[in-house]
Structure formats: C-alpha cells, structure tokens
C-alpha cells in the first residue's frame, strides 16, 4: 500500500429540500490521501465546510463496509462510481487521478425523491418488500432445520440473489429507473429455496405490481443494473421473475 495525496475538484448537487430546486456547487478537495475512502474524502470536505460555518453536504452512509446499503452517490454518471462491484463507501481514492474533476449526484428516479443534497427517499423498496417479500411462517411452527434438505448448489444460488443490499444503484443506473433487479433478487432468492415455493408465484405478482405502483419504469434490457450492482447480482434473476410473474397471470390460483 503506497500512500499519496491528491487534489480534486468536486461538482456536488445541492438541494435544500424535496420541493426546492437544486444546483451544482463547486468544492476543492485538497490533500486527500489515496488510502482514504470516498466517503472519508467527503468527510474531510464537510469538516472544512463546518469549520467555515457552512452547511455540510448531506449524504447517506452507515456501515462503511459495503453491506448496509445506505450509501449511494452517482459519481461522474456512474452509480457508486467507477469500480466494479463496489459500494460508494468501499470505493477508495486510489481509483482517482490527481487534478480530476468529479461530479456527484443523488440517485435520480421518480421512485426515489431527493430529500436533501445527495440523500434520497427509498421507502418505496420497503413497501415493495411488504407486498409479499417474505415466507409466511410464524415463530414457533418451524420444523427442525435439517428436515429441509437444500443442495449446496441451490443454497449457493439462492445466496447469490439474497446478497442484494437494497441500495438502489440498479434503479439509479437504469435509463428507465426500473427496479427490476432489486425485485427479482428478492423473488429469486425465496423462489430458489424449497421453503419459498408455496408463495413463489403470488409473491412475484404482488411485488411486481407494487413496483409499478411506486412509479419505477419497465425493464430496458440494457443490463446497466447488473453493471452497477455492488453485489454483482445477475440479470438472470429478472428472467426467473418474469417466468413466475407470467405463471401467476396464467394460473391466477389465488389473489
């Protein structure tokens, strides 16, 4: 690890509240260590703003380990920035060149209204989850865990979908602001496991319908979502979800 410092110019989206118009403001980030994370670079800029008596840039973040899904900034037009399979918090400054200008924007989608600066409201994802994103099993009536055998391959496959952190980068990257990859990951995770079978089709139908209600667009088939996903979730899950959705429409055994 060889540590250097670099200087950057930031063009940052500033917006005081959801109903106010936003604009880009320019900031200089000076003497940034290349070992710092992207958010630590923003911390540094913010502390300077606070020390000058100004309001810092609002951005969301929490675990800073790439697992909670809270952070998310569009950096130079790329959701979570240029490094593949990486959340904004795990992006490090060694990915950038000295003297570069970076444009920082919030997730932009009808389903994700801007709250302030780079922070958006992603409550729509919770509402989609509440529309069937679960197995209906009360505490107390689960059978012994080993009574449900799951092959190693199936468990691993389900895990690949279950790893979705709900950050919303797929929506931000999609030209149509579609949430197909997010929804497909949840539908696919549960439908791959035997425990999720009883509700597989109904779940797909309800979650997709809720996604439409929330104002997310239709799939563009451009695979931008897969490219932006920090957990590298495959678009094959969208095909699986589409099959389940179609089945639900054809069979319509329950509502």
């Amino acid at each position: 690890m060889s540590s250097r410092t670099i200087n950057l110019t930031l063009r940052v989206w500033r917006q005081t509240s959801p109903d106010q118009a936003g604009r880009f403001e320019k900031y200089e980030a000076k003497d940034v260590s290349t070992d710092a994370s992207f958010l630590e670079m923003l911390d540094q800029v913010n502390e300077e703003l606070v020390n000058r008596g100004e309001e810092p840039i609002a951005f969301e973040h929490d675990c800073r380990e790439g697992i909670c899904g809270t952070c998310g900034i569009v950096i130079n037009g790329m959701a979570h920035g240029p490094q593949h399979g990486t959340t904004t918090c795990q992006l490090h400054m060694r990915q950038f060149r000295d003297g570069e200008t970076l444009t920082l924007e919030p997730w932009r989608a009808r389903g994700f209204p801007v709250l302030k600066d780079l922070a958006v409201d992603r409550a729509a994802f919770d509402r989609i989850m509440a529309a069937g994103g679960y197995n209906s099993v009360n505490v107390g009536n689960a059978p012994d865990a080993n009574s449900i055998l799951v092959s190693r391959t199936v468990a691993s496959d389900a895990f690949d979908a279950a790893t979705c952190i709900g950050c919303g980068a797929c929506v931000a990257a999609c030209p149509n602001a579609s949430a197909m990859l997010f929804v497909a990951a949840k539908v696919g995770h549960l439908a791959t496991l035997p425990q999720g079978q009883p509700e597989a089709t109904k779940r797909a139908k309800r979650m997709v319908d809720q996604m439409d209600i929330e104002g997310f667009g239709a799939c563009t088939n451009t695979l931008e979502c897969e490219a932006a996903c920090p957990k590298e979730i495959s678009t094959k899950w969208i095909q699986k979800m589409n099959r389940l959705y179609l089945k639900a429409a054809l069979i319509s055994d329950e509502t």
């Binding site: 710092a36 800073r64 709250l115 919770d126 679960y134 197995n135």
Partner: protein
Amino acid sequence: MSLHSNSPTGPIADRWNKHKAELKLIGPTNRRKYEVIIVGTGLAGASAAATLGEQGYRVRVFTHHDSPRRAHSVAAQGGINAAKNYQNDGDSVHRLFYDTVKGGDFRARESNVHRLAEVSANIIDQCVAQGVPFAREYGGTLANRTFGGVLVARTFYARGQTGQQLLYGAYSSLMRMVDTGRCTLHTRSEMVDLVVVDGRARGIVVRDLVTGELSVHVADAVVLCTGGYSNVFYLSTNAMTCNTTATWRAHRRGALFANPCYTQIHPTCIPQHGEYQSKLTLMSESLRNDGRVWVPKQAGDRRAPNEIPEDERDYYLERKYPTFGNMVPRDVASRNAKYVCDEGRGVGGTGRAVYLDFRDAIERDGEDAIRARYGNLFDMYQKITDDDPYRVPMKIYPAPHYTMGGLWVDYNLMSNIPGLFVAGEANFSDHGANRLGASALMQGLADGYFVLPYTVGGYLSGNRAEAITEDHPAVREALAFVNERLGRLAGIQGKRSVESFHRELGMLMLDKVGMSRSREGLEDVIARINALRSEFWENVFVPGSTASFNQELEKANRVADFIELAELMARDALHREESCGGHFREEHQTPEGEALRNDDEFCHVAAWESNGPGNEPTLHKEELTFEFVKLTQRSYK
C-alpha cells in the same frame, strides 16, 4: 433500591419452562387492545416486532435508518451459535451454557445464559423456514464452523454475511406484519427521550429526521433494541450512526446502566491507516479457523512477511495456548496482540499490527476452498488496503467492537422501570465480561423471537395502563425538555465541529478505558471527560436549523450523550478492582499477564443510577450466584 433479577429457582434446565408456565397470558382476541413500541430494527428489534405482531399485539416500530434492513446487525459476518450438535462432536445445551458463562469470565447471570442456550436451536429452525440461505454440506444438511473459546463446531453461517442474511429474515417477517397492518413502521424517526408516567414507561419522544418535527408516541410498553455503544471510542467497527441516545436517555429517566466498563475489543480488524479515518473494519473471527497469527521473533524486524523464514516467526497464540491456539477468546487474543506490539514486534507502517497468515491453509486446502469460505472478506480487505491476502498475510489489530454492558434488566428483560424492556446488545444480561464469537446474533434473536413474546405479554396482562393524551404533564415535560436541548445545541454557535469533539473523546477513551486500564489513568480521564463536556456545551458548532434534515444536529445530540456515558464507563472501570474478560486493570493480573478476578468482592453486576452529569452516580449491586458452574480461573492453555 434493591435489585431483583426475578430469576426462577430450581434445576437450571427447568427454569425457563417453569417461568413460562407461571407468566400470565392474554387471550388472542384481547391482544389487539395492547400497543407496544419497539425502538430499533436490528436482530432483536425486528424479531421482537414481528413476533409480537404475529401474536396479535399492535406494534409500532421506530428506526433512525431509512429502512429497517440497514440496522447494524446487517454487518455481522461470521455466524450464529446453536446447540444443535449436528456435528456429533459433543455439543449440548449444557455445553453452550457452560462455554458462554466461562467465556464471559463468570460475570453473567446463570439463568439467562441457560435460557439462551435452550432456545438457540429453535432460532436456526425459524431462520431456515424464513429462507435464510445458510451454508450447506453436499448432502443438503446445514454446515458448521468453529469460533473462539470453544472446542465444538456449533456455528451456523451464510458465507461471511451471516448477520445480513439473518437480519433480512427478521426484516421480511417484520414487513409481513406491516403488510397485515399489525406493525406500523416509522423510519427516519429517532427516539430522543423516554416518557415515564407514574413510574412506568409509557412512550417515547421521536424526532423526524427529515422535517425535524418532534412527536410523542404512547403505548402500554416500550422495548429498546438499540444496540451497543462502541462508538464512544469514535473509531470502532460499529456503523457511523450507532449511538447510545435511546439507552442513555432511558438511563437519565431512571433506568440503571449495568457494567458499562465491559467492552469488547475485537482482535481481528484492519489496522488504522490515517488521521482522516472514520471507522475500523472487522475481519471476521472465523478467519482464525484457517489463518495463523504471528509476528517476527525479533523486535524491529522490518522484512516483508514472506521473507521472514519459518524459524524466525513467533506464532504466539499457538505457543502460549496450545489447546485453543488461534481460537482463544477475543479478549485473550486482543491483549496478546497488544503485548507483542508493545514489545516492538508489531508490523506494518505504524507497528500496531500483527499478521494473520493463510499461507498454510491455502497450501493444505487450495485457494478455491479458502475463497469459498472467506471470499467476500478477502475482497473487502483488498479493497481497503490494496493488499492481496491470498499472496501476503493480512495485517490485523484489535478494535472496539461490542459492548457487553447495557441497561440493567431482570430475567424478563425488563429494566427497573416497569414497562421498559431492553433486548439485544442494548441490555447487559447474557455475555458477562466478554462475549464469545457468534453469540451476539444468537442473543438478539433469542430475545426477540423467544423471550420477549412471553415476558412482554406477562407484564401487560397484569398492567392495563390508563389512556394518556398529549396533554399529560409527563408528555409535555418530555417534549419541552427535548425542544430546549436541541435548541440549545443549535444555538451555541461555537467554534468546534461535533466531529472534533467526538474524535477527542474517542482518543481519550481508547487510551485510558480501552484494552488496558489503571486507577491513575481512569482518575485522570474522568477529569478530562468532564472538561470536554463543559467545552462541548459552550463551544460546539452546529450549522442549520432544528426544523430540518440536519445530520450535524443528529450527531451533536448523540455525541452529547456519548460524553456522559464515557464518564460512567470510566467510573465503573475504576470501581471494579479486578480484571475480568474485556475489563483489564493493570493492577490485577496473574504473573503471565492474564486477567485476575476478585470473586470475593466483585462477583456482582454493577448497576448505576444517574444523578445527572458531573454528579457521582449511585451504585446498586446485583450479587451473582453460581450454582451450576464452578468459578475457576479461565484457562485456554
């Protein structure tokens, strides 16, 4: 005030069943008449909310996150313990109970720990039914790994993301209850005070983090599942917004804070690399299953690790603890890392790191096998450090990670304020002075799925509360208090950022109330914390208004509480004239440098009553009795 644990008596294995049989029930159709507030949506909060909802109570859930799925349980990596004995290697409820009591250095309540071990097996069943994709063997059965401080393989895992998958399970159950309308979800809503009416917990004051609006929510009971307080150290493995405000405000309203000095410094974290650093990243303890910990034998050896020949390496944990080797408990591993670094044998740029080396495991099992076990952890390590752990050993150093202390609760997980329940890391109850790996997830889910649903019902059945409105004097007083406090924070308009106060507090705490503590250091740090608190309230600068989305104000309100808690931690550490688990007093150690307990004088829970900041708190003791486990000097040799 005298403390009653309300633990049942009789044979340890019968106590929970006996207690459940004695708890009063509320009929299914009457449950909807009761309202319960849950604060926090990590493993404990989400599981409690979902389960109470399933039973028919009306539940209101509050989280300061934008979604319940963000709670910091999501970041737990390695696994969850359960006494399933699927490996046929001699595990049992009793062994899990024994390991946990011993691992906690004999400072936990026996009855609680035994109940935890009893319900552990059902947790795995429930999680599998929810669709948690645990690791599997080729035959389709569940796989296990080993964690520190034990000699059996009882840890269930989902790659290195077990907490994430368990939380998503609990979260999906919670969202199912939101779907049915039994749970109401309030996101971006931070609890900023507790409302106590006639001595009972009846509600909370909440700040809407988007609009800044304050509101009061009343209920028949309040359950705090708001996590631990490691962020008092500024740099810790906790998420940036983890805080003590909910538990600290409850403390200031009369709830006792127990064993605040019991903090866990986790041995395997990525070392600090710069002044700008905002947090430390954990590398799961599960890595010690295959990684070997070492430093050069010679102090000041600056050669690259791969150039240091085998006979010039000191695998100090394997040397000192041949039985447990690299799998000693966390407190022991952390202390030994500190010792070798203090001897000048630390590695890396700062000399505050030791190697965790996978060379032998890769030679033995192949790179693919290691990738399958720890791939995501290795990737994360490489992203942060730019080093490839498949080629060069990881560098690790201990970092604040978990807090065993928390609000005092009885066997029902109820605090000394009737109607105020506390679960998960926020309470003090199950881990004594040191928590074993993979036991936090177990405790959070045990509390939420299997304990609170019984004990909250037991409380409510005998305590139908009178309806109160927003005009009640206690409600108005709490609202006015919060309004005044936030206004004051925003109005100081001083010269120093919140961050600078937090950083200074963290450095003081890590230095004097961290891995090693002394009377002199603690007395000194109490004075300095007091001075810092005074300066904070005169010189902090919070930009923006209270009636808006204001992250600096959120931080200021939390740091103000951390400063007060820090003082209590130091006072508790000063009072405890012994070393036990994560609490190490330099004056009390064996000739080999191991923790030396004083069972004659300190076999008690220290539960502190607040008398306001700057005033000495009042100590209440709950004596711990050990009927089923013999008190011994812990040995992992």
